[in-house]
Symmetry: C2
Subunit: 391 residues, 2 copies
């Protein structure tokens, strides 16, 4: 017996991801919301949308806190409640979960949920610092550690424990760039080779430049409603049938195991249980590949393969568009881009497009069950959702 | 017919508010959570608490984002979902609303919700800047405006439109300091006179130093559950029977009316309607007196008096501890202190103490209905809750 719908996505949109010069995040978010609203002609946003939940990681990029009412204003939704959710790079995954709770509460019939980040106008050093604020200040930041170096530690441990290779990590990047070329919204639009990844300049070894997701601007927006109202707004709603969220120590150094993320495993377990699903039932997944090693760990934490087998899974092309379980058809964080606050809801947007047959050249035929996996920091937050197409 | 309970508070705690030197916000939040947990002997936090929602305004004070999992860790709640909510100074008011939605959703039986901010280790100029980030960057911050100056504009307009006087504003400060002296947790522990307020140094005229809430450290924490489970945990639960939230333009300059806050009026209207209550039924209220003028505006927006009559209300001592409707018995933001992220849940904590007869020397006898009013920025976010003692 499969899980019952908790809430239903009736529309979704994302802005172009990339270097969006001369735009504030409010403008970028408006692009995403406009696409979501226009994709749903039966929606009257001003009348139907009862609340906005929005993920944004950092006030530092634009020296702008209190973003939610401002974003709500720019998409024409004042004076509805507008609330910002922050769990680092999992901000809009957590916002989606809050929006689901809000729908389940019965207080709202329909809400908008999304995320946004404007990053590229800052220097790389500023961006690195602002992102590092999601790691522990006294024990990590203070000692000079940054996220590439944290994930480099995880990659090294994974290589040591399981024999995962740098080439296997590179294959994640190659696959996601290939997928990104099929997504006109993706930041990166060129294919790359394993050789290019291996020869790209070192960032924090074993991670090289092409193992890292780029610094991007972008926004995402979903419209979700009660399952029983969904058909009013969309011919093919996408039901959310599982949600999981977990938290862990903010510092990597406090964890027993750094070759896996407990939050990914726990959030997945909750979501699978609620959806009455097993990993084998998942047709497509968008996972949190902030660095190539993170996608390999995600495969394992989500049960797409056994622990330590993630490198092989990508090497055997199982997660390609044409494989057994296509992962990151959007291009993922690696090639679509990673405007951090936007990422979680952007993953859900890709799943929505795939399950409703709107993914154009990257469409996975017959996909009916999807999963998203969104991580904050080095794994202090993990959020997993499971989706099912409703015909 | 009064409103039915949406969720029930079964315990609450706050840390000492003030200058808490040498402590991180995680340590301060632990004090509040410890008090809330210890006040509820039937609670087994590790077993019973299923999620944490926490309001924190700014990552800048401690150079620390991604606070929720870290705070959850320090109060022993890993690996439950932990989510930060940010709506400027209304962050933990909005967190409380998210927690209520979470309980109403049926997904959780019991959750913790709170807020925290650590501010006093920063220079006044840094604090002023970080707080100003909740105003509009391109149109307000960029032009040098700060929150004292924004509220000074509102005060000037209120004086001009209604004849409100500087002395009346001073009376808000005098009252709240008197109340604060009865609250051992309050930052300010001394009575002041109207003359002292009038002669205190100018900050942004007509607002003088004693018209402004202080820069404080502090934290707050509530335990809320489903109404039908509340009696398992507390002899006298406090039911939340109304909730309202609204948003407005982030910039003051875009509003038609600056002598009132639309978000306060709208959030109150929603909460009163849900609770089937009128302002006359409210026994006690904690309102958002970040500046003295804000409390006067709150009286009017909440319907405790007519527009323009707020100055008279305080002058006639109606809002004193012994008055018709005691406001800010805790000392309010003005005397209890305003660790911004902690404020909304701290207001609910005071209402909990009052309605359960635990407010010691500042106890309002027979109080059974309470209200909290929490504002973000200059009124881009407003959150109102209504509470009822259950015997």
């Amino acid at each position: 017996m499969e899980g019952k719908p908790l809430a239903s996505i009736v529309s979704a949109g994302i802005s172009k991801f990339g270097r969006l010069e001369g735009k504030y995040s409010r403008e970028i978010f408006s692009e995403a919301a406009k696409e979501a609203f226009e994709r749903c002609p039966k929606l009257d946003p001003k009348k139907d949308v009862k609340a906005l939940f929005v993920g944004q990681m950092s006030e530092s990029f634009e020296h702008q806190g209190h973003a939610a009412p401002c974003l709500s204003d720019w998409i024409g939704l004042l004076p509805i409640p507008a609330t910002r959710i922050e769990t680092a790079c999992a901000s809009s995954g957590a916002a989606l979960r809050c929006a689901i709770l809000a729908i389940m509460s019965g207080l709202y019939d329909l809400v908008a949920v999304g995320g946004v980040e404007k990053m590229t106008h800052r220097t790389t050093s500023d961006v690195t610092e602002y992102l590092a604020m999601a790691s522990d200040f006294p024990m990590e930041q203070w000692n000079g550690i940054t996220f590439p170096s944290i994930f480099a530690l995880m990659a090294t441990a994974h290589m040591n424990q399981y024999g995962t290779t740098e080439e296997q990590m590179a294959m994640v990047a190659v696959k996601n760039h290939r997928h990104g070329c099929l997504n006109p919204k993706a930041h990166m639009q060129s294919e790359i080779t394993v050789k290019q990844v291996m020869e790209s300049r070192p960032v924090a070894l074993p991670l090289k430049l092409f193992d890292c997701s780029p610094i991007s601007d972008g926004a995402s927006c979903l419209v979700i409603t009660k399952p029983k109202l969904a058909k009013r707004f969309a011919e093919i709603p996408v039901d959310i049938i599982g949600t999981g969220q977990a938290s862990d120590t903010i510092g990597l150094y406090e964890r027993d195991n750094v070759t896996s993320m407990q939050v990914g495993r726990l959030a997945a377990r909750q979501a699978y249980k609620m959806a009455s699903m097993t990993p084998r039932r998942i047709d497509i997944a968008e996972v949190h590949d902030c660095f190539t090693i993170a996608e390999i760990i995600a495969y394992e934490d989500l049960g797409f393969c056994s622990p330590g087998e993630g490198g092989k899974l990508v090497e055997e092309e199982e997660t390609q568009l044409s494989g057994r379980i296509p992962v990151n058809t959007s291009g993922g964080l690696k090639a679509k881009g990673h405007p951090v606050g936007a990422t979680g809801a952007a993953q859900a947007c890709e799943v929505y497009l795939q399950l409703t047959g709107q993914a154009d050249r990257r469409q996975v035929k017959g996909a009916s069950i999807g999963l998203t996996h969104n991580v904050g920091g080095s794994g202090a937050t993990g959020v997993v959702h499971i989706y099912r197409r409703r015909d």
